[in-house]
Point group: C2
């Protein structure tokens, strides 16, 4: 039976980073990613690629890392593993466009090994439109369902549900955006090999660039004014709240002494907090807020 | 021996909120605090007072709350108490001025009782100047040392050290500002009664308005430009990071289902994240960054 080699996974993730950066530069039309290589004192390092003040993209990162060493006890407990030596590699992306009409996007794909023998893949991709357009949400989820269905007929339902629960700002009782898919600890089972898990993760990774560049293209020329910009800055504030209060990748990074600037590339270039923001009844802001809820079936909505 | 009555403490905190709001409105010259009363489903509630877009103050809150009920297990563990019924009351303040020349300030004073018998006071006050002026830092610490010394000759050294450790952004390896004092679990001991602890906390509370309004007055007319404003927005981003990643009050509030808008009134009106900000050598930004470190003796510095 085919097995999964950590170096093959690492290499595939590095190439994914290359391909995504090229596709984004092309779609943006102006921006160029700047690269920084870094080493982690405890073992491993990464290749951070950041874009700032481009044409469509205001700030974003497409980061590759491969880290190894000793897991802090807290993290080992959270992961429910006995081993303390770990190996992890992955690609993490967050993109903040200038225009409130172009959605924020996030993707992460990762592979993990622990010395007690566990090996698994994890990942997720979710979209945060400032204004939710049900047709685009439908498109995004249809793409994700398509690749899920190629691998297992329960993946989409299961991982969409998981994303609804994960990308949720509990203290606001609202989702971060329209969700997507989220999965973790996809290990080998009697039915599914680790190599098959890897093929699924590859398909997730490969879907990112075509799906997001289409959304960039479709929305980049839409007009907007002060009201839309203000709403974007508020929604970005919620994005900050999610990432710093709940996001496990951010916590893992900060607690394993990852490179702070690479971890926090997910922060928006600018964000606002207005006390007690309440959208005007029936406004487009109110329509979006009403859609920031779990359990919406974006496949059958249009 | 004099004891401490929870209703007397509650009442004193409510009056402190009144007095501080009046003093700040007077010093600002234009702003008026808006009040919202809220109730906590699990027991208690609060009186949130928020100021926005005033003359000197861009956004801030002076919040009183008195909450009681059942402690979540996680919090009981963190507090190292056996009892699960709790009573807590306090005043929390964060003020974000428009001008980068006027420091951000925070104060919290609180009283806690748990059904296993523990009763204690806690609190802290710390200053976050965007540009650190050693003379003003000296003034601020001298005021704090003065009231500490009235109560115990070890309070200042101990609580200043505690503040250095507490108001610390670990993942940046920098302090939030110039610190101040921080203290927790000030319970009755053989030497010090709870009533004496209360007198100390009263003095801390009473020091806030005169000390901060003096700093408002001294700095409000200083000129600044784009560079100072940009630096302020970056430093405010770090303030957000501290509050969402480390601040125990914020965590306690969010985990005990406090009122989100009251807890997160500490968020700045606007904040920026620039990838990999590095100040220019010998610039005033670099001078400030060099002072964001633990262990500076602000009393003997000038």
């Amino acid at each position: 039976m085919k097995t999964v080699d950590r170096f093959v996974v690492t290499d595939w993730f590095m190439q994914l980073q290359d391909r995504i950066c090229s596709a984004l530069e092309k779609a943006d039309g102006k921006g160029v990613f700047e690269e920084e290589l870094w080493q982690r004192p405890g073992g491993g390092g990464g290749r951070t690629r950041v874009i700032q003040n481009a044409h469509i993209l205001e700030k974003g990162g497409v980061n590759f890392s491969q880290v190894h060493g000793i897991l802090p006890e807290k993290i080992a407990l959270a992961l429910q593993v006995k081993g303390r030596d770990f190996f992890a590699t992955g690609v993490s992306i967050v993109l903040h466009p200038f225009s409130p009409m172009v959605p924020i996007i996030h993707m992460n794909v990762r592979y993990f090994e622990v010395s007690s023998g566990e090996k698994w893949f994890g990942g997720g991709i979710d979209l945060t439109p400032i204004y939710v357009d049900p047709k685009q949400a439908h498109f995004f989820h249809k793409e994700l369902k398509h690749i899920c269905d190629l691998h297992h007929n329960e993946y989409y339902a299961q991982f969409k549900h998981w994303a609804d629960d994960y990308f949720f700002i509990k203290h606001r009782n609202e989702t971060r955006g329209i969700g997507g898919i989220f999965f973790d600890k996809l290990a080998e089972t009697n039915e599914i090999t680790l190599a098959q898990r890897f093929e699924f993760v590859k398909d997730v990774g490969n879907t990112f660039a075509p799906a997001y560049t289409k959304l960039m293209e479709e929305n980049k020329d839409l007009k907007y004014g002060k009201q839309e910009k203000q709403f974007q800055l508020m929604r970005r504030g919620r994005y900050v709240e999610f990432n710093l209060v709940y996001d496990k990748g951010t916590k893992f990074g900060l607690e394993t002494d990852g490179r702070t600037e690479s971890i926090l590339m997910s922060m928006p270039p600018e964000a606002n907090w207005i006390y007690n923001f309440v959208p005007i009844n029936n406004s487009k802001e109110a329509q979006t807020m009403a859609l920031l809820t779990k359990g919406i079936d974006w496949i059958s909505i249009v």
